[in-house]
């Protein structure tokens, strides 16, 4: 039987299964109300939480990092301009395709991609509603864990070194 080592990491974002269900309901509702093509929810450091639409998952993971980079960069330049309140929404518009993203409680980023037939007004109104609901969920998480400084995770001990060796063999063992 494998032995376990407990370790402690600084608290980050933890969404429970029940909270994720509510998050996904919120995104489904947003997609239905607006008719957007793809919806992404990421954390502010660029890690993908969930997505909706036909976009490939690996592409979405790369997109998550880029969107977070955009938001982080825009937060910095507003500081340089001497303003206090950060940008909440970012909009990237091309002729027939747009991406609109919004900051959720400074922890998450909600982004939607849509074609030219969808009106920006509809996106703005309903993404704002979604943002409100997601903020509530995030604030629940914060208050539920406010007594803990850290999250405890259990990983395998001696087995982990062996696991990692095996994993690296598999990572690099493929025919190009």
């Amino acid at each position: 039987m494998a032995s376990y080592q407990t370790f402690t990491v600084p608290r980050s974002v933890t969404l429970s299964t029940e909270q994720m269900e509510r998050v996904e309901e919120c995104l489904d509702e947003l997609a239905m109300n607006t008719g957007v093509l793809n919806t992404l929810l990421t954390d502010s450091t660029g890690q993908l939480i969930t997505l909706r639409g036909r976009i490939d998952k690996k592409r979405a993971e790369a997109l998550a990092a880029l969107i977070a980079g955009s938001h982080a960069a825009s937060a910095e330049f507003i500081k340089l301009l001497g303003k206090e309140a950060p940008f909440v929404n970012l909009s990237h518009e091309a002729d027939d395709y747009s991406i609109y993203s919004t900051n959720v409680a400074d922890v998450l980023i909600l982004s939607v991609a849509f074609g030219g037939e969808v009106k920006i007004g509809i996106v703005r109104v309903f993404i704002e509603q979604a943002r409100s609901k997601l903020s509530e969920i995030v604030h629940e998480t914060s208050s539920a864990n406010s007594d803990d400084d850290s999250v405890k995770i259990r990983l395998v001990d001696e087995d982990f070194d062996h696991f990692l060796d095996k994993e690296f063999e598999e990572l690099t063992d493929h025919k190009k």
């Binding site: 370790f7 974002v13 790369a62 990092a65 880029l66 980079g69 696991f163």
Partner: protein, 190 residues
């Protein structure tokens, strides 16, 4: 670090830091082209027209599930040029571990030290001290004639006791060893 219980995933962020043209991007490019595609994502590179990193490079690597959780490692590099200090600070946000890619050439010692000093400052802003943080020193360009040996470089940086690898990133020398070492560090008890 991000835990997604529904997807049973645990995400870590690792940043390759260091002076300009030290080999940070070369590390990621080598990893990308030698890792089984089913275990990795797209390599994202935001570059200038002169092929220098402008904002960051990004690569996601997935391992198999362990104890019910799938570890995923988000690897980033930072732009090394002096003018991009603000961008480096941004990319370091939420970092779980750092690989410092030093340029081993003798005449680059000063740039290495400046970059390391800056890294310590930015980590300190996030509440971390370098000697208590998952950290690997990679002394790159060991193939060049004026390269300082890794142990000496480590001493010059005042990093005695920190794990150290001598590498040739363009040829893949010690690239995976470095990567394995940082993965080990970010997932194990500090």
């Amino acid at each position: 670090m991000l835990i997604n219980q529904r997807r049973a995933e645990i995400n870590f962020k690792v940043v390759y830091y260091g002076p300009a043209e030290g080999g940070k991007t070369s590390n990621l490019e080598y990893i990308y082209s030698h890792v089984n595609p089913i275990h990795r994502g797209e390599l994202v590179s935001i570059k200038t027209q002169g092929d220098r990193t402008l904002f960051f490079d990004f690569l996601l690597i997935e391992l198999s599930k362990i104890n019910g959780l799938k570890p995923k490692f988000n690897f980033y590099t930072v732009p090394g040029q002096t003018i991009y200090a603000a961008s480096r600070r941004l990319v370091l946000r939420g970092v779980d571990g750092v690989v410092f890619v030093a340029d081993s050439q003798e005449n680059r010692l000063q740039e290495n030290i400046e970059s390391l000093t800056e890294l310590k400052e930015y980590l300190h802003e996030q509440g971390y001290e370098l000697n208590e943080f998952p950290f690997i020193l990679q002394c790159n360009k060991q193939d060049l004639s004026m390269a300082t040996p890794p142990q000496k470089l480590r001493e010059q940086f005042g990093l005695n006791g920190q794990p150290c690898f001598g590498s040739i990133a363009t040829q893949g020398e010690q690239v995976f060893d470095t990567m394995k070492a940082i993965i080990n560090q970010v997932t194990k008890q500090r």
